[in-house]
Symmetry: C2
DNA sequence: CGACCTTTTGAACGTATTCAACCGATGTGG
DNA sequence: CCACATCGGTTGAATACGTTCAAAAGGTCG
């Protein structure tokens, strides 16, 4: 492995860089988005996976359920909701995804996306044609490993949501939701305790298996109890430990 | 990573085959479990992934949450429940898995299994060391593809459960549950309308986000309405279309 | 500025839960 | 092999949690 020569990597990437401005190595999300310990050659190769960038305006869909699957998307900036639809038209929010996270993996198995991904604010994504991802991950074990980790972590995340929906009370669900957002914002260098929700009460409710009125009431209740301060979509967490206690306490 | 001696894998598989009776090519689950269109050489190589078989008695765990991850398991026979645990000890059933399906994929990302897999009857599984799965799927694109499909389909399944838990009424959840079991039994050559539940009401309830009493009441209700006949764990579906109608109708 | 969407809050309601009793099936030890 | 203990399942009655319906206020955007 260490004997691989560098000549392929020696070619100037200037043209590619101009076209798509693709430099994973320079992306501040690389620690979230990419495997650790890639050498320069591998990094170059991995950057070839990023076929293009795409901008999605707030309210627009990155893809719809049923669209032909060809790529997964790494979120560079912005905030998405992912949803699935019932036969009878009901919509369920399955997740809120932010920068550095991957969306579209639900399409690998069937060749069609299983759900929608809708931008909750103006977004930019990296387009990763999946055939290319597979090809390059056959060459670079670290990338293969990373892909499998990402897929597996999505499964683990989903199981967490099942726990939330199946066993938790409304209060606990909202506390878990806030703490989860807080943690993910922290990871990205934002304040853990002061943030802006990009989704409506209805979308939060759908995600948490609650009605929008219930979500609203709970926000008010949390405020009364001094856990948070709410101003429309602006959230201030005043008592993190208090929220965590809410989660730990048996019904 | 540098000098892996897996060329020991070139050893004649005869001894391994004797030891473990491993012949995926002869397994009646291969259409559920394996990719299509493997040639004989590839099939031989894929069979090397099956490191061993393991028998699990009813009530025993195939793995526990927190156990070090090293393999995924293909269920050869029997029935498992998979669960996750809360900080405060609550348990949530995340799935019921049957022959031909894979369990343990929740461990890939973290190196530890995220949940438990417990046998609901005596089971036999094929042990697939994941490092080997990754190695061989780098060589055989069809296997790589298949692995990704399986992971993706698990995500899609989980999203379906989220829809069920987040947006459906108790009645709809149980109807969906029965129809799902029916479909999977059919695929395996069993009766779509006459089967034996291997899980308790409590486990069904946990999976569906309901209490065991609610599940029991609903079974009785479905029986009164002529959709099914229930005798303890024995289920007879009398009106499949009726159950489907329950799902399609907005509350 | 006005129309529309989102959020908040109240009151009545309904679904699923809780608590409790009982029954039947299963399995174990005397 | 039976008696008994245990576990799983059913059913009823009271309760609680979250929903539904409704009205009004606060934001946002053309």
């Amino acid at each position: 492995m260490s004997v691989i020569t560098m000549h392929a990597a020696q070619r100037n990437t200037e043209s590619a860089a101009k076209k798509f401005e693709v430099t994973c190595s320079g992306c501040n999300l690389r620690e979230i988005c990419l495997p650790k310990g890639l050498d320069a050659t591998e990094m170059k190769r991995v950057e070839q996976v990023v076929y293009a960038r795409r901008r999605i305006h707030r309210g627009e869909a990155l893809f719809h359920a049923g669209d032909a699957f060809s790529a997964v998307y790494a979120i560079r900036s912005g905030f998405f909701k992912t949803t699935v639809l019932n036969d009878d038209g009901r919509e369920q929010v399955t997740g809120f995804m932010m920068s550095g996270e991957l969306v579209g993996m639900d399409g690998i198995g069937t060749g069609c996306y299983n759900g929608n991904a809708v931008a909750l604010e103006d977004c930019e994504v990296c387009v990763l044609p999946f055939a290319l991802v597979e090809e390059i991950s056959r060459e670079i074990p670290a990338l293969q490993r990373h892909l499998h980790c990402v897929l597996s972590r999505e499964i683990v995340r989903d199981h967490g949501v099942m726990m939330l929906l199946g066993s938790m009370r409304a209060e606990e669900r909202l506390a878990a939701f806030l703490l989860n957002l807080s943690k993910r914002f922290t990871r990205r260098g934002y304040s853990p305790s002061d943030f802006h929700l990009r989704m409506t009460r209805e979308e939060i409710g759908s995600y948490l298996g609650l009605k929008l009125e219930t979500v609203s009431r709970l926000f008010s209740k949390f405020q009364e109890e001094g856990f948070i301060e709410v101003n429309q979509k602006h959230i201030l967490i005043l008592d993190n430990a208090g929220l965590e206690r809410l989660l730990g306490v048996k019904h």
